[in-house]
């Protein structure tokens, strides 16, 4: 049978309708105005260089007495966890009675080129932890790491466990040499020293293209065709634009930290090999004995589940739990399903350990 059930006239009609939607989209997007993100009320409690530490205003009458510090990745911006009211992981966590702090790394510039992982982990994160401890009058706090921020939080816990009560990692790479780790596979033959020498700070745009290039036809082509289909719905178009804003809001990466992260984690896999040192101090994951909740995404194409789940075999904690989210890397933070599933799981897990 001839499968082409399309007449030439129908094809022209389809293209015309597509064009009409595209043109209509210009009007829709024009009318939407500026897209707002990260709108949950919060207060700046500490700042240093480009970094700002925020505390979110509570949404419940009482809170868990141990504050939670969210450590975001250096890649992209943290408002992904707070895209808009009603679609915000931050708000859902606040609704669980958590006292939330978040590190916003800002946008590194040339003056930050020589920021190292030691500066980020033993410097910035440690001073933020101290700021939270000081403000809340507690000895230990909870850490919640997001993606690369989870790897940082894990290293921090290994180095400063006396200041950490519980650790939550979300879509966090731990073993960087698992079979389906495409990013690791891609950078295997890249001379990262030369990249940093050429660029100084690694441009966010290059990193962004690398991520998009992992699924180029879906992420660079089909996505926009799908947008044309929803352009007549201002709400859905606005949601798309928020995500789009986040995707392309890519800070440059401080050169030295990038060199160390790609070289020591992605290329040499030192974290799980036990050969990693940060600031001259060995990072031994076996010394991590605090309770750990490890959340990974089943369909994650950036951080394969195996990479995150490797954590179970590396740490010394006897209180380790995993939660599998049935979705992808970004879905953990922006999907309705994630908001229904993860904040209650996190809130319950922390309350049981407070």
């Amino acid at each position: 049978m001839n499968p082409f059930a399309i007449t030439p006239e129908a094809a022209v009609r389809e293209i015309s309708e597509f064009n009409a939607k595209l043109a209509q989209g210009l009007n829709t997007i024009g009318r939407l105005g500026g897209i707002e993100v990260g709108t949950s009320p919060r207060d700046q409690v500490y700042a240093e260089d480009k970094l700002v530490l925020y505390r979110y205003r509570p949404r419940t009458e009482s809170q868990n007495p141990v504050p939670v510090l969210i450590v975001y990745a250096l890649v992209n911006r943290p408002y992904m966890a707070d895209l808009e009211g009603g679609r915000s992981l931050i708000q859902s966590l606040l609704d669980q009675g958590l006292d939330l702090y978040l590190i916003d790394w800002g946008y590194p510039d040339d003056g930050d080129r020589y920021l190292s992982l030691d500066d980020y982990i033993n410097g910035y994160i440690d001073r933020c932890v101290d700021a939270v401890r000081g403000q809340r009058g507690v000895d230990r706090i909870n850490l919640l790491g997001i993606c690369q921020g989870g790897t940082f939080a894990l290293c921090y816990t290994a180095l400063h466990q006396d200041k950490v009560s519980n650790l939550i990692t979300t879509v966090t790479p731990v073993d960087f040499h698992t079979k389906r780790d495409l990013l690791s596979h891609l950078v295997r033959h890249v001379d990262v020293d030369q990249c940093v020498e050429a660029f100084g700070n690694l441009p966010g745009e290059v990193l962004n293209w690398t991520f998009l290039g992992l699924k180029p036809f879906q992420l660079l082509v089909q996505k926009y065709l799908d947008l044309v289909d929803i352009l007549d719905d201002p709400d859905r178009a606005a949601n798309f634009l928020r995500m789009e804003k986040w995707i392309f809001d890519s800070p440059d990466q401080a050169g030295e930290a990038f060199r160390e992260f790609i070289g020591q984690f992605y290329q040499e896999n030192r974290l799980v090999k036990g050969t990693l040192s940060i600031g001259g101090r060995p990072v031994d994951l076996e010394t991590v004995t605090v309770p750990v909740l490890n959340i990974y995404a089943r369909d994650d194409h950036l951080v394969p589940p195996d990479s995150s789940r490797a954590l179970a075999g590396c740490i010394g904690s006897s209180d380790y739990q995993e939660v599998e989210f049935p979705g992808g890397h970004i879905g953990v933070y922006v999907s309705n399903r994630a908001r229904e599933m993860l904040p209650p799981a996190i809130g319950r897990w922390l309350n049981e350990r407070t």
Binding site: G30, R188, Q194, Q218, Y224
Partner: protein, 327 residues
Amino acid sequence: MDGPDASLGGFDWAGAQKRFLDAVSAFGVAQDAAQPVPNPWQRAIDFWWQGVRSAVPDRDRAIFENLVRQSRAFYSVSGQFSRILAAMSSPQGGQDWEALLNQQMEAWRAQVVAAEDPVLHGLLAIWQLPADTWQRTQALFSIAPGGAVPGYAQEFHERIHVGARLWEEYQHALQDYRTSLATTTVVALNRLQERILARGTAGQGLNSLREIFDLWIECSESAWAEQVFTDEYARRYGRLVNALMAFKCHVQGLVDETLAAANMPTREGMDSLQRSQRDMKRGLQAAAAQGTANAESLSEIRRELESLRQALSGEGQSKPGRDGEAT
């Protein structure tokens, strides 16, 4: 459709674009199916976008540019199949849809191999320097620095030659990478052809251009996923990135020499400053942390001293006779 948009100067761009594209679309289907012509839908959207682009606020321009760019992929794929549809519906078209499909897919593969596929160009964009980059770089250094210093000009020209070699290596790496992408694209097209034929065998229809486009995306993504996980691809990717970075580093060195000759700040000098600044900052932070720790120790010692004083004083008050005895 909404009426004219005031934000675009009150002109009904949407309506004008639709009328224009309707006309051009009709023209497109009427083309001879055997002749590969530039896709009129693509040309039309480009023409339209050139017309409205300047009226679009900066805020929205990037997203719409992406939309327009990726719409071209839809037009491109649709254009390939429109020729089949037009041929099938023509009086001479006959019923041999398989032969028409094979013929069209063969022409498409030839376009890919000849690097004329617009989607392929999009995938390469980030790794492509403008073709005249090296020529412009050479022109920039035609005034060799330190020309008055004997032997220096010769040395500088040697560096220019090294730059030319690095540029050539980058071009080879880019061509190599482009070839691997083209191979993947051809694999995807083969897969698309097989899927369409399988649909025919299974009696399943393709009811819209979009359905065909989505099938093409699916085939392309699966072919891509298989390719990128090979060691060969990782090596080619690494070679391309390394060749580009080596060229950039070399050009930076040349720029630095020129700047130094003009007694201006160089990248190397700025790097040195930034490193020193970071080291100083670390030193300050360490000193501040040490200061805090010292202050805490001092406070602790003071507290201890105070409690000792109080203890001594309390002891003195509770045993007044001892002092008297001692004296």
